[in-house]
């Protein structure tokens, strides 16, 4: 019996490591961010000026917060019709057929492509298209990044929506069909109302993914430290700024970058918590 107690303590102690890691992360990020918040206070979050020149140093995170939110929401808008259709294709129209399985495998493969490969593809294949369409001169910017981000988050949005759409009881669908409803009507008056909160949650979780993506966005957004002026303007996201400038940073600039990491951590944490909360409430 004594050995059983020891085993239980070991299990407990190891699980406690997760808590330590999490607490340590919060502690380290907050600790690293203190100097910049001491220096500028809340102006750090609401100022749009980012100037590392010595003597006139000033760090404001607003351009990057705006860039992150803008690219992610545009990506979500692009992703919505695509992944909703794919979910309907896989989980409703061609449920359990070969072609649906093939489509599902292809969508899964999208999740396996490393971020940097998406970046390369965006740079060498998508950017020329954007330029030749005359959307922007260099092809860099919010829209280009958002298109790649949309492709990257499709598998996350789709796989969860698939599950939720298949969970809608057959009886409900059959009842609607027996009254003469078309498939279109069944989808929008039976499936969608029943699966709504789950589908919404899957898009929220996909948004959480988009907010933190780094490499692909770094390669495509144009890395300008300004608030994006429009869809085809260049900009910078929180993650891409950290990737670009962390290497040569020290002192106050390092603290500013860590503070941006902390903000990113908080924003993605809140978005994911909302998504998980909706899912948990459903089941």
């Amino acid at each position: 019996m004594k050995s059983e107690k020891i085993t239980r303590y070991v299990l407990f102690a190891v699980s406690f490591i997760i808590l330590l890691i999490f607490a340590g992360m919060v502690f380290s990020l907050a600790g690293g961010a203190i100097p910049v918040f001491k220096e500028y206070g809340l102006k750090f979050i609401f100022s749009s000026d980012w100037n590392p020149t010595q003597g006139r140093e000033f760090y404001g995170a607003l351009p990057f917060i705006a860039g992150t939110l803008l690219t992610s929401f545009v990506a979500l808008l692009i992703c919505l019709p695509l992944s909703f259709s794919t979910s309907l294709f896989i989980a409703e129209y061609y449920h359990k057929t070969r072609v649906a399985k093939f489509l599902g495998t292809m969508v899964d493969l999208l999740a396996g492509v490393p971020s940097i490969v998406y970046g390369l593809w965006g740079f060498y294949a998508l950017r020329p298209v954007i330029i030749s369409l005359g959307l922007s001169d260099q092809g860099f910017g919010v829209f280009t990044s958002a298109v790649i981000l949309a492709i990257m988050i499709i598998p996350y949005a789709t796989s969860l929506s698939n599950e939720i759409i298949t969970m809608v009881p057959n009886e409900l669908k059959e009842a609607a069909y027996s009254l003469g409803a078309t498939r279109f009507e069944v989808i929008f008056s039976v499936i969608f109302p029943n699966a709504r909160s789950g589908i919404v949650a899957s898009y929220i979780l996909a948004l959480g993914r988009a907010l933190g993506e780094t490499m692909a966005v770094t390669m495509l957004i144009g890395n300008a430290n300004i608030i994006p002026k429009g869809l085809f303007s260049t900009g910078n996201t929180m993650a891409s700024l950290i990737a670009n400038q962390f290497g040569e940073a020290d002192g106050l600039k390092l603290s500013a970058l860590i503070a941006i990491g902390l903000l990113l951590f908080l924003i993605t944490g809140i978005v994911n918590a909302i998504g998980k909360y909706i899912i948990r409430k459903m089941s």
């Binding site: 407990f12 294709f89 940097i116 078309t182 933190g212 490499m215 990491g261």
Partner: protein
């Protein structure tokens, strides 16, 4: 009243059927658009990358920019390969796995054994939050904890610590899910024979859920193997093969990043990406095979 009944008797079946078929066509079209990028990406990688893949690619160090430039001027193929990246990636991934797999599996078992305790739920929530943490933030953590305080410089350990934190939630959740599949009866049979608890875990629970655990681990590895952002802040990269945990180390994604930033070495990005993508695909295929095999039995 008369207006209402008029509406009720309008025969709009044709219209509804047309709308139905238009919607179906739209769904099919958009689904095809959704999967076209993956086909375009893989074909681009194969077309542009296959030419550079040869024996040297797996056995030679990455060239420096001067070698690449002189080869380009002479119209030759860029010499060298990515062996320092391949060894670095393997080294970092193995280190990360050594840290993450035991902690992940044991925590998963703990969560399974204590389903409804508030503490277990709390850990479960934290695992969920950890899963959503952007990889670049984990890079900062690796930098703050290890680069600054333990190895006093960029190191393989820092990178693998960041990647281990990334693997943990995936392994914990997959362990918990797999443990639910182990029949309660065989654990009880063990307990009835007076087998101590730790031996039930080691000899009954882990072996009978082995394929599930493997799947979770392989998927976790395939998720981290292409990570670039956290490594930029932690392992930095190295022109030579390194197997010391406190020294900067290269990795395939880091090499791709270097090649991308050096106009002389552009030719190498596709072959390296093809290699990386192939690696991820093989890991995914193996884990799919394990799942399929399990479902058959």
């Amino acid at each position: 009243m008369s207006v209402r009944s008029e509406i009720l008797y309008v025969d709009n079946t044709r219209q509804r059927k047309i709308r139905n078929s238009i919607f179906k066509i739209a769904v099919i079209l958009l689904s095809v658009i959704t999967i076209s990028p993956i086909i375009l990406i893989i074909s681009k990688l194969i077309i542009e990358g296959i030419g550079q893949i040869n024996f040297d690619f797996f056995t030679q160090l990455a060239p420096d920019t001067f070698q690449a430039m002189s080869a380009k001027i002479n119209g030759e193929k860029i010499p060298g390969g990515i062996v320092n990246g391949i060894t670095g990636t393997l080294f970092i991934v193995i280190l990360a796995s050594v840290m993450a797999i035991p902690i992940g599996i044991i925590t998963g078992i703990y969560l399974y054994e204590n389903k409804n305790k508030w503490y277990a739920n709390f850990i479960r929530n934290i695992t969920d939050i950890l899963q959503g943490v952007p990889s670049i933030v984990l890079g900062i953590i690796g930098y703050l904890w290890i680069v600054k305080n333990i190895t006093y410089g960029f190191s393989a350990l820092a990178g693998s610590a960041a990647l281990a934190i990334m693997m943990l939630p995936l392994i914990i959740r997959s362990t918990e899910e797999t443990m639910k599949m182990v029949p309660e009866s065989i654990k009880e049979a063990g307990a009835a024979l007076g087998v101590p608890y730790h031996r039930i875990i080691l000899k009954v629970m882990i072996p009978s859920s082995f394929s599930g655990l493997m799947t979770g681990i392989l998927l976790a590895v395939s998720r981290i193997i292409g990570e670039t952002a956290p490594l930029l802040l932690t392992t930095l990269g190295s022109p030579v093969i390194n197997f010391e945990i406190d020294k900067p180390t290269s990795a395939v994604p880091l090499l791709i990043w270097n090649f991308y930033n050096d106009p002389n070495m552009i030719d190498l990005i596709w072959s390296s990406s093809l290699f990386l993508m192939g690696f991820v695909l093989i890991l995914n295929l193996i884990s799919k095979r394990i799942i399929a095999h399990k479902e058959k039995n």
